[in-house]
């Protein structure tokens, strides 16, 4: 009875893209967390999260994103978000996530700046 959440991965030599679809709540956040853990384990240091198909988040989901940010910071990596709705971007600003993560309008821009 829960919203479906899906993600797809695109792995490159020096960065990876996680594209999400659906509600980033506890369940959605956990799936992102697991995918990120695995990528970091594999040696990925630059991570792009494409939220084009995730228009709704909650603070439980975002708490898990903070864990991901922490892990990326710990390996001296970089993390960027793209295609955030205005409200999600505002939320990330309010919470201060933008001190540790970049926000870009498009995926192409994120790839260009990070890679």
């Amino acid at each position: 009875m829960s919203e479906s959440f899906n993600l797809t991965l695109e792995e490159h030599t020096d960065y990876a893209i996680i594209r999400t679809e659906g509600y980033v709540n506890n369940l959605g956040g956990e799936k992102i967390g697991e995918a990120a853990d695995q990528l970091i384990e594999q040696g990925v240091r630059k991570l792009i999260l494409n939220f084009e198909k995730s228009n709704v988040v909650n603070s439980i989901g975002i708490s898990i994103l903070i864990e991901v940010i922490e892990k990326i910071v710990d390996v001296d990596g970089q993390i960027a978000f793209c295609y955030l709705t205005k409200t999600i971007e505002k939320t990330f600003n309010i919470m201060g996530l933008t001190q540790y993560a970049e926000i870009y309008a498009t995926e192409a821009e994120a790839v260009e700046k990070l890679a």
Partner: protein, 148 residues
């Protein structure tokens, strides 16, 4: 017609929509759909609607997660004002001591086990006015957003 002046002197009675949802995974999204339709009806712009939805999600998941309400229900009232929308989120749970809640800071959350604790702070920032009443009979959160 004789009492028309006294009628005019009365406060306008605000229209109200009431929604009661069970504590079920993702039920907060039903409430946001209801909120969205009401705010559209009131001609709120899309960005302000989105902010109300986000604040509403936070208030509802708090009731779901923390209230321990025996009736396992959350009551949401939408009061359609002239210039603002007020949303009242109420549970009949155990309540909490508002003064004991610490303001979260990202610097402290990083490298700290406990990463949660953002909901109330987000509600404060996304809405124009917020008022919380909480005691052993439950919690009532009253939040308003101006149309502009």
């Amino acid at each position: 017609m004789s009492d028309s002046s006294s009628e005019k002197a009365q406060k306008p009675t605000h229209q109200e929509v009431e929604l009661i949802i069970p504590m079920l995974q993702d039920m907060e999204l039903t409430a946001t759909q209801t909120a969205c339709s009401i705010a559209q009806h009131m001609k709120f712009d899309e960005d302000r609607i989105d902010e109300v939805k986000m604040a509403l999600i936070e208030a509802i998941i708090n009731a779901f997660e923390h209230s321990q309400s025996p009736d396992k229900k959350v009551r949401i009232r939408f009061v359609l004002g002239e210039e603002n929308l007020t949303v009242i989120i109420q549970d009949h749970g155990q309540g909490f001591a508002l003064e004991s809640i610490e303001k979260p800071e990202i610097g402290k959350k990083l490298h700290h086990e406990y990463k949660r604790g953002w909901g109330l702070m987000l509600i404060e920032n996304l809405m124009d006015t917020v008022y919380i009443e909480s005691n052993a009979n439950g919690t009532t959160l009253v939040m308003s957003k101006n149309r502009k």
